[in-house]
């Protein structure tokens, strides 16, 4: 049985003629948690955007195999239906659209794609209740407009709540720790850990090691100047924490 979820080979991409990713190779298997770390501007968020299908980035070469499909060939919504979930670094506000209406639309669109029946109101509400408990999302937030007027922490919790609802195969957490205080960080991480199974995988993108105290990665990759320059276990994150990124830069310069 194939344990592979995603296999990225030689991925290069550019925006407005400027090359950001300069050849990424990354393979993620079922049940694994990978962390990508790197200094600002190294291309971390670009990688997550490219995997989610944001069209302002142009892929110039390389391939991304996702569960046997060419991921780059799929539209953003098809990727979502196939189980790719991106927790946004800056979750978008959609005024006037309630959180639950948003999610129900999302679930039903996916079910339609998978030729499943739309989720019943009863089941949906039960699911909302169960999953929101996971991240302790305030009941009133569920009926508020998507992310509108949410605090930074509430937005991030809402992302994880949505992740729980959509039950993705590959979750990409883009700087989910930014703007979180220590309590919120614990709650969010706890949610992510509970959603982990032997069938799915998580890609955590972060600048700081802090998050990795809570979401313990199997692999840590260091992204620098559009390339993965080092891969290791969770101890690599600690090393980075201790020495900073300059150490990598210096080593590369040699």
């Amino acid at each position: 049985m194939n344990k592979n979820i995603i296999n990225i080979k030689g991925l290069k991409c550019e925006i407005e003629g400027k090359e950001i990713l300069k050849g990424i190779d990354l393979q993620i298997n079922k049940g694994e948690i990978h962390a990508i770390m790197g200094p600002n501007g190294s291309g971390k968020s670009t990688l997550s955007s490219v995997l989610a299908g944001k069209d302002e980035y142009e892929v110039t070469s390389g391939s991304v195999d996702y569960l046997g499909k060419d991921l780059l060939d799929l539209s953003p919504e098809e990727r979502s239906w196939e189980g790719v979930f991106l927790a946004f670094q800056y979750p978008v506000e959609i005024p006037g659209v309630s959180n639950v209406n948003f999610l129900r639309t999302a679930l039903n669109e996916r079910n339609k794609y998978k030729r499943l029946d739309p989720v019943s109101a009863k089941n949906f509400l039960a699911m909302v209740k169960e999953k929101s408990a996971l991240v302790g999302l305030d009941n009133k937030l569920k009926n508020r407009s998507v992310n509108e007027g949410f605090s930074g922490g509430e937005k991030k919790r809402n992302e994880i709540f949505q992740m729980a609802m959509l039950e993705p195969t590959l979750s990409i957490l883009d700087e989910t720790d930014s703007g979180l205080d220590i309590d919120a960080l614990r709650i969010v991480s706890n949610g992510v850990n509970q959603l982990k199974s032997n069938e799915n995988a998580t890609l955590v993108i972060t600048h700081y090691q802090r998050l990795l105290d809570y979401i313990v990665p199997d692999f840590v990759h260091v992204l620098y100047d559009g390339k993965i320059v080092r891969t290791g276990g969770k101890e690599l994150a600690l090393e980075l924490e201790e020495k900073g990124y300059d150490w990598i830069k210096e080593e590369l310069a040699v």
Partner: protein, 481 residues
């Protein structure tokens, strides 16, 4: 709309006799053109009293000396007023019995709206007056309302049965001299709805009028008069559709609302006249004068969802005459393809402590032009008057236009006026966020647009709100490529 062709057919079969339609169908349409004898013909046809004929003739004189206004931000070929028939009763049975003749585009729309017979039946609690080609053909729930002293009938009936009320209030808010189209309407109006709520009565159900232009070569000139006596309440709904025609059809209605002391009128419109085809051919010219007069502590609230018509020219307004009166205007106007809309409101503050709120949400797509035009006037005596206006525009394509023309006139130093307006493109980051959650682009746009318009949609009665949401969706279908 809260009514279908099927219902209409049924109602007509049942009520045909009651309304005394003559069988000679041809004679129920006036010859094209407008002159004094046409005005007399209409008045005679409706068996009107002399005072009303005089009123019409005066209005006709006034109209003859007026020129069509050009200040609105719309361009269109002016209607040829002599090529229009100013009176047309529906050729009921023959045409309506045959649903296949109803244009398929409209039927599709109705199907999409989910207006099935079954659903209609469930929509009890809504009394409906049906005005087709200027003639009121069906009013339901009359008896039940009668028990409370509520009068809800066609305008012609009111002229016959309640002339004192009609005479007293007709033209008191929108005089025939008001503007070109109001004058035209005053001269040739053929029917419409009349509603009177007695003192202290809260109308237990939504009153609804459904307007439809069916016949070709006709204009629709209906008049609506709603009088809410002291301390009464009424919620009034108005819906409109017209079949697909290559020619432009003229709709020049007048709506007058009178809210006496402590009364409240809620007037909601879902306007879905035929907007013309994708190339901008055909469609209804919707030139409507709507105005309400608020006495002390009364409230008039206009809500409109405008998705139809080739050209819209419409400013539902409130004259806040009495102290502590409240005026509200909530509007969503969608234009697509080659539609043009110039719509907004006037809030005229005369009494002390008067308050007004304006929420306008414009959505432009295709090659359309969508303008908000509004006036807030605070008179000298309007101490502590307040107004808040929020006018937002959403642009869907790079070939449409969104414009804002607010007029703010203040003559009182204790008044407070706030006006805000924004214009922006539909958020690409919002669309991507939806896509990432597995919501297709079309659905995403509909979600975002409905969210954007929510403040206004929330003002509509429940059944209407759902329908209006679907209408928005249909109107914008394929608007983003």
């Amino acid at each position: 709309m809260a009514y279908t062709e099927g219902d209409l057919k049924k109602d007509l079969e049942n009520k045909e006799y009651e309304f005394g339609f003559v069988t000679d169908i041809e004679s129920d349409k006036a010859p094209n053109g407008l002159n004094e004898s046409i005005v007399r013909f209409i008045s005679e046809k409706k068996n009107e009293p002399d005072w009303l004929l005089d009123y019409r003739l005066k209005a006709f004189k006034i109209w003859s000396n007026m020129i069509e206004p050009e200040w609105a931000h719309v361009k269109y070929e002016k209607p040829k007023f002599q090529d229009i028939s100013y009176y047309s009763a529906p050729k009921q049975k023959k045409e309506l019995a045959n649903l296949d003749e109803v244009d398929p585009e409209l039927r599709k729309t109705m199907d999409k709206l989910g207006i099935s017979m079954e659903e209609q039946k469930r929509l009890s609690g809504v009394a409906v007056d049906f005005v087709m080609d200027s003639v009121s053909v069906a009013t339901s729930f009359k008896e039940k309302l009668g028990e409370l002293g509520i009068i809800f009938c066609s305008f012609s009936e009111a002229v016959q049965n309640h002339p004192e009320l009609v005479k007293k209030y007709m033209g008191s808010v929108v005089p025939a001299t008001d503007n070109f189209y109001a004058a035209l309407n005053a001269a040739v109006f053929s029917d419409g709805s009349f509603c009177y709520i007695p003192k202290g009565v809260s109308c237990p159900m939504e009153l609804s009028t459904y307007f439809r232009i069916n016949d070709s070569g006709t204009g629709q000139f209906e008049r609506t008069l709603v009088v809410a006596d002291k301390g009464s309440y009424v919620s009034y709904l108005e819906g409109c559709t017209a079949p697909q025609r290559d020619e432009n059809q003229l709709h020049a209605a007048v709506v007058e609302l009178i809210a006496l002391d402590d009364a409240e009128i809620k007037y909601s419109t879902v306007q879905n006249w035929y907007p013309g085809d994708k190339q901008g051919k055909g469609g209804v010219f919707n030139f409507v004068t709507k105005r309400g007069l608020c006495h002390e502590r009364s409230k008039i609230s206009w809500t409109q969802v405008e998705t139809g018509s080739a050209v819209t020219w419409k400013y539902p307004s409130c004259i806040l005459k009495g102290d502590n009166a409240v005026g509200e205007f909530y509007s969503v106007a969608v234009t697509n393809n080659h539609q043009q809309a110039d719509t907004g409101t006037k809030m005229i503050h005369i009494g002390k402590n008067t308050k007004s709120t304006i929420i306008s949400k414009g959505i432009s797509a295709g090659f359309s032009q969508n303008s908000y035009r509004g006036l807030v006037r605070i008179g000298k005596g309007a101490d502590k008057a307040r107004n808040f206006s929020q006018c937002d525009s959403l642009l869907m394509t790079d070939r449409c236009g969104a414009h804002t023309f607010p007029y703010i006139e203040c003559e009182n130093s204790t008044a407070q006026i706030e006006h805000e307006a924004t214009t922006s493109k539909i958020g690409e980051d919002q669309i991507f966020y939806c896509l990432q959650r597995g919501i297709s682009e079309e659905k995403a746009i509909s979600l975002i647009v409905n969210g954007y318009a929510k403040e206004v949609l929330n003002q509509l009665p429940m059944e209407f709100a759902v329908e209006a949401q679907k209408l928005l969706e249909i109107s914008l279908e394929g608007s983003v490529g």
